[in-house]
Symmetry: C2
Subunit: 340 residues, 2 copies
């Protein structure tokens, strides 16, 4: 009886089914309670460049689902090749964020989706034009009626459908999650040591929960100030409070192997560099090469199953659909370039 | 016996199994003899924007497989938002073309694929840089070895794999093909009348074969000259012969409903307009509104099954991978804009 008890205890420690409750990181949950028809419509809209003035920029341009939900650029390229002000955060697991954008200025995915469409630096369209375009396309009109109980196209329904699709973009089943769920062999001892170091160094103070981040706003540069030429000042843009200067949403570390480059300015090209800077600026410590490598190895165990789906087919424009105008406003472009 | 003969004859006419042999248009054949592993690698490369200098332009940017293999722009947007010189032709069924590009300057798909990568107006990279980038990515290096019998990354293998993927992009099973193959109900009598008019008016002189075009170079403006501000002069750029001025590859009409706008300059926004201009300039006749509508209805029966596949996942860059440089050479951009 005692032997049985000990065996069960050993099994429990090895297979650690109760780790979930005690670890600061929880497994990503698979998608539940999705309106599948709405998500399918949202997938088309997510890939549709006709939501932009130029006809070439879609949600997927900067949040590319072939590349970890990012564009892998320091900052994105917007309408007229304008340089974006900030690094495009991944759309993967974005539904787990406490708010959207680096400064958390959008409450949820639906509010976020409306931003870039009408931002002259990004997709360069307007909500009115986006509705005009989508409601001129017979294939979309039918699908909106089907999904939204006979209702017509509206910007709320466009962004609502995109948000519903984005809710499906979770990445469960990472090696680290398999380990959390009890498979002791799912990560190597080197990776496990990286995780222990990640915890004991205090990284989990901010990078915790299912998304390993995304659930708080924190100052960039706690121990030492962060030096950058990027003018973004973070949360102060939302609250106007000086205390919020350089406060940003803590990014998720899920799939961080795929979402390079790092930080709001995209200035850290590699995980090695990002871990080093975070340690010095946020924790006031320097990791040895080996410690850094262990943490990087752990971070790479956070890459989960990527969303797999058929490339959507977009319904064709009709004769009356407003056409894209990528090369209008050259004067505005010249001014923009002269300001650089 | 006589009755049976007549019935069989009637059946043959109605279901027309022998139409294939006598009609100027043949059904699109499904893909055969593909190197599946090479095509799978080529699909990734086709979607990989790291083949461009900026890191945002892939083959799929201008030949978007969600939109009929085109970008639905008059002319495409290249590196630094440069305005392309000519309308991007569809990649769908491009394997059936006698040559590639509007002026037929590339012999085949592989030769074509190398063009935009190194064109400063398009993807803005170089073959050397493209090879550097792809051969720095461990996931690609392994896949090239697997596909090419242990060989390393080279530009020939990159373009060869892309070409192999593009060979899969055929669109069989259009309603018109179903009719050609014997299903008398696959197209309406209105569409059928459009086809008869298309034939009797002489459209099939150039638009014939499985691709309904793509198999000859012809002068744009046979009866009346074509007026355009687009400076492209067609085949003369390849041969230097004055007789080839304004000679272009006849575009395929397969999926033409999806590949708007039309002509090498993209100046015809709708099928109605394109049919009208073609009739007046190439055939010296004017279609009535109803005739035009019938031909347009027929053309829409040429939309086949679009290629359906999972959005490819791209292997992540390594620390040593050369990073995209979208915002370098602003001076060159300023010069380009001042030239417009």
């Amino acid at each position: 009886m005692n032997i049985l008890k000990i065996s069960l205890l050993a099994l429990a420690v090895g297979a650690s089914p109760q780790l979930q409750a005690t670890e600061p990181i929880q497994p990503i949950q698979p998608v539940k309670e999705i309106n599948a028809a709405m998500a399918e419509l949202g997938k088309k809209l997510y890939f549709d460049p006709r939501l932009s003035k130029s006809g070439v920029i879609s949600c997927n341009s900067c949040h590319n689902l072939s590349m970890g939900g990012t564009d892998n650029l320091k900052t994105s390229i917007g309408d007229n090749w304008q340089q974006g002000p900030i690094n495009s955060p991944t759309v993967l697991n974005a539904s787990l964020n406490l708010a959207q954008f680096w400064d958390g200025r959008a409450e949820d995915l639906q509010e976020q989706a409306g931003g870039p469409i009408a931002n002259p630096m990004e997709m360069g369209s307007s909500h009115a034009l986006a509705v005009d375009v989508i409601s001129s396309i017979p294939g979309y009109v039918r699908e909106f009626k089907l999904v939204f109980n006979g209702e017509d196209v509206s910007i709320e329904r466009i962004t609502g459908a995109i948000a519903e699709f984005e809710k499906t973009l979770v990445t469960p089943n990472a090696p680290f999650d398999q380990w959390l769920l009890g498979d002791a062999e799912a990560i190597t001892s080197f990776e496990r040591e990286g995780y222990e170091l990640f915890k004991s160094s205090g990284c989990t103070a901010c990078h915790n929960g299912a998304a390993v981040g995304g659930n708080s706003l924190q100052k960039m540069g706690v121990v030492k100030p962060y030096s950058t030429s990027n003018p973004a000042e973070g949360r102060i843009a939302v609250t106007g409070k000086d205390a919020d200067r350089f406060t940003f949403k803590v990014p998720t570390l899920r799939n961080v192997e795929l979402t390079y480059p790092y930080f709001h300015d995209g200035e850290a090209a590699t995980l090695t560099e990002a871990v080093d800077i975070m340690a010095r600026l946020q924790l006031g410590r320097e990791f040895s090469q080996e410690e850094n490598a262990k943490i990087v190895a752990f971070l790479k165990t956070l890459t989960g199953d990527q969303p797999r789906f058929l490339l959507p087919m977009l319904p064709p424009s009709a004769d009356a659909t407003p056409r894209p105008t990528p090369f209008e406003d050259d004067d505005a472009l010249k001014q923009e370039i002269s300001r650089r």
